[in-house]
Symmetry: C2
Subunit: 460 residues, 2 copies
């Protein structure tokens, strides 16, 4: 651009949230926070910037490449956090002693990853994690499941929490590898199973044979194991089999496999704690194929499906880990937690029509027509706000048509119209901007209650 | 540290917020957001990282030094935002056309400044800005004042909004410099006046003489001007004089000074709009000495004093600007806004005892004593949550003493105690952890209502 104007642009992979998107996101987060509060999970904050050494931990080449990393003015090697788990580990190592255990917390904050931008994936996005640290009890796992269920009940998203236990999967795979107990083979099998949904039975079968060197009989056993739980995402299949039935079938197939039996027993305990009234049984299923990453989780793992929109993928995932902060402290800190996929959840809410998608938080626009009425109208508007009605005052004296056009553009449902004449008679008009109808001669005394009635009707 | 442990530390000038601090901050922000919503101000979000060119704008050496600036993986010159005003300008230049004007927004988000860390000043802190853009009407200024007032009413912080208009100050100073119309002299006078509170009359007088080259008569006139409004922070002095009186005195002193007369007229209009019921007159004063930065603001300017804690400085400041986004667009975008000083406001809330400072959001701890009761207790706890009682379940079966100690440490007020015996008789005990008293034989059916009664009593 010419004349010294700097082109107003954002970085590749970054974005602004305009009011409609930001309002929806804020409302969703408010609902989620109410649930966290109600379970006794308080918020915490950690710095966006940390020592790169801390964020990288033992790191992988991949996470290293994704870091926004630089030298600060003091020559320190620093980076923007890429998730909220590593900061939690560092936080727990620092503060566990003062906070006391068990320690619950939620953390809603942006993270940054220098990934190749793709549709729907950004280099800056908000994560929403909740965890309970310092207990190995499966009751904590059950609580996490109960929170996931409550979050999506509150958000009115039909859902199914798919639960597995890494010990069942690991136990089964180890059994396949008794003659060849090296980790690589186990990992190959796990990866192949993990791809079943995407690649289908034939491809996975070939991989198991060629790359994991399994016999035809072993491969048959793999599919027998996978068939125990309805891993296919279609809703009807999921509903076919009770959790108890799936676990009993697994126990029959894996009889004598101690690791697998331990996992099955723990899941039974988890179901016992949740299914006596805390969680609707329809919202939980067992899926023996879920692994959720190869290294991190050691116990129960969770994924959550929006049953009306199975294609968007898991909207809340997590699991149990043996040792959160081993990089930063010798203290063993086991825990369990999950993370709400905010972008996906927001997409689900929009798709399901659960979101207004409005550009204003105001329910009413108070128009301002005549000089000399400003103070009166400001006072009346403030009264409406005190009565719980979000009220915008048009910020200048302007043609009525312009003010109504403005209200329309912002999708504000009602306009209050009062010139100096009406005000001197203590009355005003209410215009419904959806129906284009107008009630005149409304007494100012009754304005709040009439608006409240109208607004209540609009919602229902 | 030995054995490959990475020392868990945060960068100099950065900090963690532990639950008690984060709960207080979150609650305060919730209250503030409710006010913004009620005035029709929606949230927006902008990226934390932007092109350095955009953040620097015409910039100063100082702001350049404060930037966390680096090259990203794509070789782009990027930086972390150091305020929310520059991003708003860039945002407005990009989206004003789509959003329509006037455009209101609030933005609550972290900013980063590589300043020398001092007590109470951090390199990462949250800003809370609200603005209305695209109107020159003083009604918009009046609305900002009304929002400031409502925010601190809601937060229950006694306050006084100190209002000035740059045209009054500029008009007065220009008059002193008619024989020498260079900007440097005007700036010198402005700076000297700005320091009155800190340095006192004698030092300022010397500066005006030696550095601004004013005559004794001129200096006398400066102090005559300054004496019009009670710039001294003591509460009683502020209350002595009505806003109208101050403006009338100013008009008498500055008769014929067109610029100053314009400013006085606009402030009268602002008071007219706010003082007929929207804002309590006790919460507003005129202070003719307030400048709020030398370049940016062009019209009304605001500062807010917590009258019970005048020493903490302004808890909310802002003003009107002629042209927000001139660096990024040829479109003239006037506006007005303010920023809540969150750290100071939080400090004020704490000082005034308006904050619980608790480490848990839970009101009740449900203890868990006997194996086999987990599912029942989970269901009962979920019922309490549905009834609006924030309820934590101790996440493992443990000694009662340990569980009560935990509740005490987290300052949870009540514990519910129910072993399998009690549960089989559909009853439980409620222990008040403050008074150390216990009610036994509470019927589970009445648990919610009894707890609610107890909690209501605790609050009052």
């Amino acid at each position: 651009l010419s004349s010294g104007i700097i082109e107003p642009r954002v970085l590749k992979g970054f974005r602004d949230l305009l009011p409609n998107a930001a309002i929806s996101k804020t409302k969703m987060l408010e609902t989620i926070k109410i649930v966290f509060d109600s379970f006794g999970y308080p918020p915490i904050e950690t710095p966006a910037l940390e020592y790169a050494e801390i964020l990288l931990g033992k790191g992988s080449e991949e996470s290293d490449k994704q870091l926004f990393r630089f030298q600060d003015q003091g020559g320190r090697d620093v980076a923007l956090r890429f998730d909220l788990t590593v900061p939690l580990a560092r936080f727990a190592a620092t503060h566990a002693h003062d906070l006391g255990l068990p320690f619950r917390r939620y953390h809603i904050a942006p993270v940054w990853r220098a990934e190749k931008p793709q549709r729907g994936r950004f280099r800056e996005f908000t994560q929403c994690d909740f965890d309970i640290i310092g207990t190995s009890s499966i009751l904590a796992d059950a609580e996490i499941v109960s929170i996931i269920d409550t979050v999506f009940n509150r958000l009115k998203i039909n859902h199914k929490i798919r639960i597995n236990h890494r010990a069942i999967l690991n136990g089964f795979i180890k059994e396949l590898c008794t003659s060849d107990p090296n980790k690589t083979k186990q990992t190959t099998i796990l990866r192949a199973i993990d791809k079943l949904d995407k690649l289908g039975k034939d491809v996975v079968s070939t991989e198991l044979m060629e790359e994991a060197d399994l016999s035809a009989m072993q491969i048959e056993r793999v599919f027998e194991f996978l068939a125990l739980s309805p891993s296919n995402l279609s809703k009807t299949q999921i509903e076919n089999k009770s959790c108890e039935q799936i676990l009993n079938d697994a126990l029959a197939l894996l009889k004598g496999n101690q690791l697998a039996e331990l996992g099955i027993e723990q899941l039974k305990y988890l179901l016992d704690a949740t299914l006596q009234g805390a969680v609707n049984p329809e919202n939980i299923t067992i899926d023996l194929t879920i692994a959720r990453g190869l290294d991190y989780y050691t116990g129960a793992v969770f994924e959550t499906l929006a049953t009306d929109l199975p294609d968007i993928g898991s909207i809340c995932s997590g699991g149990r880990y043996d040792n959160l902060a081993g990089l930063y402290t010798k203290r063993q800190l086991p825990g369990v937690g999950a993370s709400v996929g905010l972008d996906r959840t927001l997409a689900a809410l929009e798709e399901l029509g659960r979101i207004d998608n409005k550009a204003s938080t105001a329910q009413v626009l108070f128009c301002i027509l005549d000089s000399g009425t400003e103070g009166r109208i400001f006072a009346l508007a403030q009264q409406l706000r005190t009565n719980g009605i979000a009220t915008e005052v048009f910020p200048e004296i302007n043609k009525l048509g312009n003010q109504l056009k403005y209200a329309d553009k912002k999708e504000i449902g009602y306009a209050i119209i009062a010139g100096s004449d009406e005000l001197s008679r203590n009355c005003c008009s209410i215009k419904n901007l959806r129906t284009k109808t107008q009630e005149d001669g409304i007494s100012l005394e009754n304005l709040s209650s009439i608006l409240k009635n109208n607004l209540a009707k609009t919602v229902s």
